[in-house]
């Protein structure tokens, strides 16, 4: 399978196998007007198998959302053929990435409030809504 090399854009690498679609959704990649390639179950010496996403355009990438979905991934930014690498980290705070599901939360009636979640347990990757402290589900919503 051949995917063209990129002059300007991103290669999101070291995604846990099977997680590529979560990132696709979290970053709303379906809304872009450029080529997006999703490679799944690619053999990897470190990970056994991994997913990769290639985006053929320099867009605003939400590293917070990336770090939340999968903190182990690497983002290669390609600018006029020059590559720079950055590793996503587990973000301390998520702003407008998740929506609180607690129907008793103030955000359920005041939709203009930012949806903010804080990392309360880095080991277990637990995020809680700053308003009502309800725990975010691991599936990202």
């Amino acid at each position: 399978m051949t995917v063209d090399s990129i002059q300007n854009g991103y290669v999101i690498d070291h995604i846990k196998a099977g997680k590529a679609m979560d990132i696709y959704k979290a970053l709303n990649l379906g809304d872009l007007d450029c080529s997006v390639a999703i490679l799944m179950n690619v053999p990897s010496s470190k990970m056994g198998k991994k997913d990769i996403i290639k985006i053929d355009k320099l867009i605003h990438l939400d590293f917070t959302a990336l770090g939340y979905v999968d903190p182990g991934i690497t983002v290669n930014t390609i600018n006029n053929g020059n590559v720079s690498k950055k590793r996503a980290e587990l973000p301390r705070e998520l702003r407008n990435v998740l929506k609180c599901r607690n129907p008793r939360c103030i955000t359920s009636i005041e939709q203009e409030l930012p949806q903010v979640f804080k990392l309360t347990d880095p080991q277990k990757r637990i995020y809680r809504c700053i308003y009502c402290e309800t725990r975010a589900d691991q599936d990202g919503q």
Binding site: R104, I106, T107, E110
Partner: protein, 304 residues
């Protein structure tokens, strides 16, 4: 500017300071009767809670201040769809401090992000009610002489009861505290309190379904109501409901010095026959609520 949204916003030193101020108010109320002359407290009660509102208003009046506000959402601009942020920015122009009760969790936190004056959370849904916890702490301090070295029994709805979770959080910061958590299986303390507070801090605790079994060990018995609507199974409620009603008979093995607390309102979980027992503190607890709210208002207005 400081607000009080969650009891854990206050350090142990700050709580001690509030308790000391409250004790000084109790000792010499006249010294404080005019300290807030010309200051105004707004009580914004988006859901009715007469006893909490009156406690705040009485506290402010006892300091020489005045009160204004509303006691239900229908009589406020929230009924017209105004946001919490806008409401407090407006009310902050009229009052020096705001006590807010709201049915939605997190509303007082939102208020504190926008308000030009200090916000006190007077209860946000089933989430936080920090002035109740301060009331409980002052009561324990007055009844027991301190907040260390206590075995605290908490009985009733330990799953949904916000006062229970705040009390466990607050008391777990004191020395040599043990908890006996008394509830039916359906209403046990949630895992995150057990794991993130009790186990994390190595605080000894015992979970039991029997109110009588550990009675002799307790220094404090904190009663809460077991509500019918919390049960999935009506027959289970009928089977258990009387187990968690405190009667003089159930107190036979209790220490003579044990203190019985209840956040009130009571329905039937403490028999009225217990009211005359000198160990019953719940009406003294109400009075303590006023004193600690006085201390809190003074602290947030930076008068002490």
């Amino acid at each position: 500017m400081k607000h009080l949204i969650d009891i854990m916003d206050l350090s142990v030193a700050e709580i001690d300071e509030l308790i000391e101020t409250a004790l000084d108010i109790i000792k010499d109320p006249e010294k404080y009767q005019d300290v807030l002359r010309h200051k105004k407290l707004a009580t914004l009660f988006f859901e009715p809670s007469t006893r909490t509102r009156l406690s705040f208003e009485s506290a402010m009046l006892s300091l020489g201040g005045s009160v204004l506000g509303f006691s239900e959402a229908q009589s406020s601009s929230a009924a017209k769809g105004e946001s919490v942020a806008d409401t407090v920015r407006v009310v902050g122009c009229y009052a020096d401090i705001i006590a807010m009760r709201h049915p939605k969790e997190g509303a007082p936190l939102v208020a504190s992000m926008f308000s030009p004056v200090p916000i006190i959370n007077a209860g946000d849904g089933g989430h936080n009610h920090p002035t109740q916890t301060l009331t409980d702490l002052l009561t324990i301090r007055r009844e027991k002489g301190g907040l260390d070295n206590l075995t605290i029994g908490i009985c009733g709805d330990l799953k949904y009861g916000r006062t229970v979770h705040s009390l466990i959080n607050a008391m777990s910061r004191y020395r040599n505290i043990r908890f006996v958590l008394i509830s039916p299986d359906e209403l046990k303390v949630p895992d995150y309190i057990i794991n993130d507070v009790l186990k994390k801090k190595n605080i000894p605790f015992k979970e039991t379904a029997s109110l009588e079994d550990s009675m002799e060990d307790l220094d404090i018995l904190y009663m809460t109501r077991v509500q019918r609507e919390r049960f999935f199974d009506e027959s289970e409620y009928m089977r258990l409901k009387d187990s968690y009603i405190l009667t003089p008979e159930k107190l036979i093995n209790a220490k003579k010095t044990m203190s019985i607390l209840h956040p009130l309102p009571r329905v039937n979980e403490i028999s009225v026959a217990v009211d005359n027992d000198e160990r019953a503190c719940y009406f003294r607890q109400v009075l303590n609520g006023k004193f600690i709210r006085m201390a809190l208002i003074l602290k947030l207005l930076e008068v002490i």
